[in-house]
């Protein structure tokens, strides 16, 4: 663990150092290039805003009304049938929809069942093995103004479903029930 932490602490500074040294070595006006590139950053962040506000409010309405829980209750038995503990089912469904929601749910599962229990480990693996599909689609396509999201969302969600099944299988194989 210590080496992993050390690696991530050193990674960013060395990356910054490498880019700056290489740029100087190649005689690039580094500071001017930095400012030129950075200017794009602000307008990009602002351009994402309406997309994110729209998507996050829709998801919030769905969750806070209780409809999300009803969905989880109705799909739950189906997912338990393939060997997933019912306690983890909400996490599997929430993971692609809400990043902060899933993180909260995972912490809660680990707190309740213990980090080294089957449920705790499965929750950890599920949380770590995929990203928030809705957020990624909204931000990346929003920033460049792509309107027809089309197949992208389907690809992401299908892959998430397969990821959940893989997580259950792998955790069962590696740690046992």
């Amino acid at each position: 663990m210590a080496s992993v932490t050390a690696l991530s602490i050193w990674l960013i500074p060395s990356l910054i150092g490498m880019i700056l040294l290489y740029g100087t070595f190649k005689r690039i006006p580094s500071y001017e290039a930095f400012v030129e590139g950075g200017k794009e950053g602000f307008s990009l962040a602002v351009s994402i805003m309406p997309f994110l506000v729209g998507m996050l409010t829709a998801i919030a309405v769905f969750r806070s009304s209780g409809a999300m829980d009803a969905l989880i209750r109705s799909i739950g038995p189906l997912l338990s049938a393939i060997g997933m503990p019912p306690e983890v089912v909400p996490l599997a469904i929430l993971r692609p929809i809400s990043g902060t929601g899933a993180l909260g749910l995972m912490s809660d599962l680990i707190k309740t069942y213990g980090p080294d229990s089957f449920i705790g480990r499965l929750a950890s693996v599920m949380q770590g093995s995929t990203d928030t599909t809705f957020y990624v689609v909204t931000v990346y396509f929003g920033a460049v103004g792509v309107q027809k999201i089309g197949d992208a969302l389907k690809v992401g969600l299908l892959a998430d479903a397969i990821g959940v099944i893989c997580s259950v299988l792998i955790v069962t194989l590696v740690f046992g029930k």
């Binding site: 602000f42 805003m49 707190k111 705790g120 480990r121 990624v136 920033a143 969302l153 992401g156 893989c166």
Partner: protein
């Protein structure tokens, strides 16, 4: 499709709330989440400016190009439409590498920049190109070597070995990423078949 999903989330939520007496929480959630969304974007401004500035140096000095040449074989396979020495390739690689090392705040700016370059390659169309969907699939599957947040939470709750999930997580991520790439390919060929008809 996104329009239908978006409206459905609202309408189903509101109808459900009407019958289950949760309208008050819906009211609060709308404005809380709207302000959360803006806060996320504001938080993104600093990292976007910093990393896009830094990457501009990398782009101008030719470092990005060097990087893409290094991984040319793999990238050609994943992104056959993108010319190997195009700046988009460099940004895609930086995005993937930042994701691998769990540098979320560096990955997003580079991913967005890569999307912009891919859109240029696509003639500025508002429809996503094949490469754009592939890049998205790579990002939604969350390819990470070390899930730092998860490890931190496991430590907080007194795990005997907080890192013992790293291997299984990596395996699971590989499954997700591989299936994302395969599903992406499948949809691409389905689109092609439909266009021909």
């Amino acid at each position: 499709m996104i329009n239908v999903i978006w409206v459905a989330l609202f309408v189903i939520g509101m109808v459900y709330a009407a019958f289950h007496g949760t309208m008050n929480s819906v009211n609060q959630a709308v404005f809380q989440s709207a302000s959360d969304a803006v806060a996320i974007c504001i938080g993104l401004i600093s990292v976007l400016i910093f990393w896009l500035g830094l990457m501009k140096i990398a782009e101008k000095s030719g470092l990005l190009e060097k990087l893409s040449r290094l991984f040319k074989p793999v990238m050609r396979l994943l992104f056959p439409e993108v010319p190997a020495d195009h700046p988009a390739m460099g940004y895609i690689l930086s995005n993937t590498i930042a994701n691998l090392f769990g540098l979320g705040n560096a990955a997003t700016p580079m991913g967005i920049k890569a999307m912009k370059e891919l859109k240029k390659l696509n003639g500025g169309s508002t429809k996503p190109s094949r490469s754009m969907i592939t890049l998205l699939a790579l990002n939604t599957s969350g390819l990470t070597l070390v899930p730092a947040t998860v490890i931190a939470i496991r430590m907080k709750y007194g795990s005997a070995s907080p890192t013992d999930i790293v291997g299984p997580t990596l395996l699971a991520t590989l499954c997700t990423t591989l299936s994302a790439i395969l599903i992406d390919r499948f949809f691409y060929h389905r689109r092609k078949r439909r266009e021909r008809k």
